[in-house]
């Protein structure tokens, strides 16, 4: 849309971001190990995260958007009433 879509002097973005991404990847792996060790792998949120992860290996850009979509309630109609106020990060099995 505007000229700053590509920064004028893009630095080495791998230098800037690799360590952070490495830490997060290991954290996710450790999380799956932890919930499995304690018999909690069948939680709907763990299942939703596992289902979203193949997007990370996709060759197509738009991975962040597709991970967010995979963790979203895909229904379209308003719910009859809000009986809770919080959100959980993945649609509960009854939601969509």
């Amino acid at each position: 849309m505007s000229e700053e879509k590509t920064p004028p002097a893009a630095p080495n973005l791998v230098d800037l971001g690799f360590m952070d991404a490495r830490i997060k990847a290991i954290d996710i792996a450790a999380f799956f190990d932890r919930v499995q060790r304690h018999g909690q792998s069948d939680d709907y949120r763990v299942a939703a995260l596992r289902a979203a992860l193949p997007e990370l290996l996709s060759g197509e850009t738009g991975r962040a958007r597709r991970v967010l979509e995979a963790l979203s309630d895909q229904s379209e109609e308003p719910i009859p009433a809000a009986v809770i106020q919080g959100a959980f990060g993945a649609p509960r099995p009854t939601e969509s």
Binding site: K5, P8, L68, S72, P78, P80, A87
Partner: protein, 266 residues
């Protein structure tokens, strides 16, 4: 900022912030009656501007009953009836943050009531989009409700807390998009900068959440630092972080900050 100590005003002033805009939001608990809102509106239109001024910060606010407390329609009606008494206060920019939380029918009804109030009083609108798994659905419902009211000009509405899956929906329909920097959800500085590269920086602003949870009042200046590291020049950073929000808020004649002339050259 009702949920914050003066330390945060000091940090913002030291980081170069000039003004704060504080939406009416959840108190961390549900208020017992509209009387709780009456005092809250007094607080954010009278006391907080004076508290911020002690640190050289201008303070603006938005008024509404937030979506988390909007399931009770009769309470919402009572709160909306209070708003006209406060709407002409010198620091009030408009109606917000309205929107949806769990995407329920009553929340939608209360959203429509707020949009009608804003239209009748010719107010800017600040919209909260739901959290996490509810955001995509809620954003679509909100955009449809706004688009169905012919009195609403999308250029006078900002849809806040967009992420990669909702930003293009908002911008494609002519609304402003707010990217909220928040440590545990919403977006991070790097993702916000990525979204600017993907979707452009027109009609976009960045904001820091300063609520009851873990949040960072100087997340916007920290993003300026990240933009520097990623090669953006000072003019691009200024346009996004300063000129853009000033441009949106200047649509309310009450908004005035020293460094902004009201003209954006982008």
């Amino acid at each position: 900022m009702v949920s914050r100590t003066t330390d945060d005003y000091v940090a913002m002033a030291l980081a170069g912030c000039e003004a704060i805009c504080e939406p009416a939001f959840w108190a961390g608990f549900d208020r017992a009656s509209e009387k709780g809102f009456y005092d809250y509106f007094r607080q954010i239109t009278d006391y907080e501007p004076r508290r911020a001024a002690k640190f050289g910060l201008k303070h603006y606010s938005w008024l509404c009953i937030n979506p988390k407390e909007a399931e009770d329609v009769s309470l919402a009606e009572a709160v909306l009836a209070l708003i006209p008494e406060f709407i002409d206060q010198p620091n009030v920019l408009g109606i917000g943050e309205i929107g949806l939380n769990k995407n329920s029918r009553n929340e939608l009804k209360v959203l429509e009531m707020h949009i009608d109030l804003a239209a009748r009083h010719d107010q800017l609108i600040l919209v909260h989009t739901p959290h996490l798994e509810d955001k995509l659905k809620g954003t679509k419902l909100i955009l449809d409700v706004l688009a169905s009211d012919s009195r609403i000009n999308p250029g006078r509405v900002i849809i806040d807390h967009v992420e990669e899956h909702t930003a293009p929906l908002v911008l494609d329909r002519g609304f402003w998009a707010g990217m909220t920097l928040y440590p545990e959800s919403k977006t991070t500085p790097h993702r916000a900068i990525d979204m600017l590269e993907l979707y452009g920086s027109e009609q976009v602003w960045l904001n820091s959440a300063c609520d009851w949870g873990i949040s960072d009042p100087i997340a916007v200046p920290k993003t300026a630092l990240e933009m520097r590291r990623r090669g953006y020049d000072a003019a691009s950073i200024d346009r996004l972080l300063y000129q853009n929000p000033a441009s949106f808020m200047s649509q309310c004649p009450k908004f005035a900050i020293d460094g902004f002339s009201g003209v954006v050259g982008a």
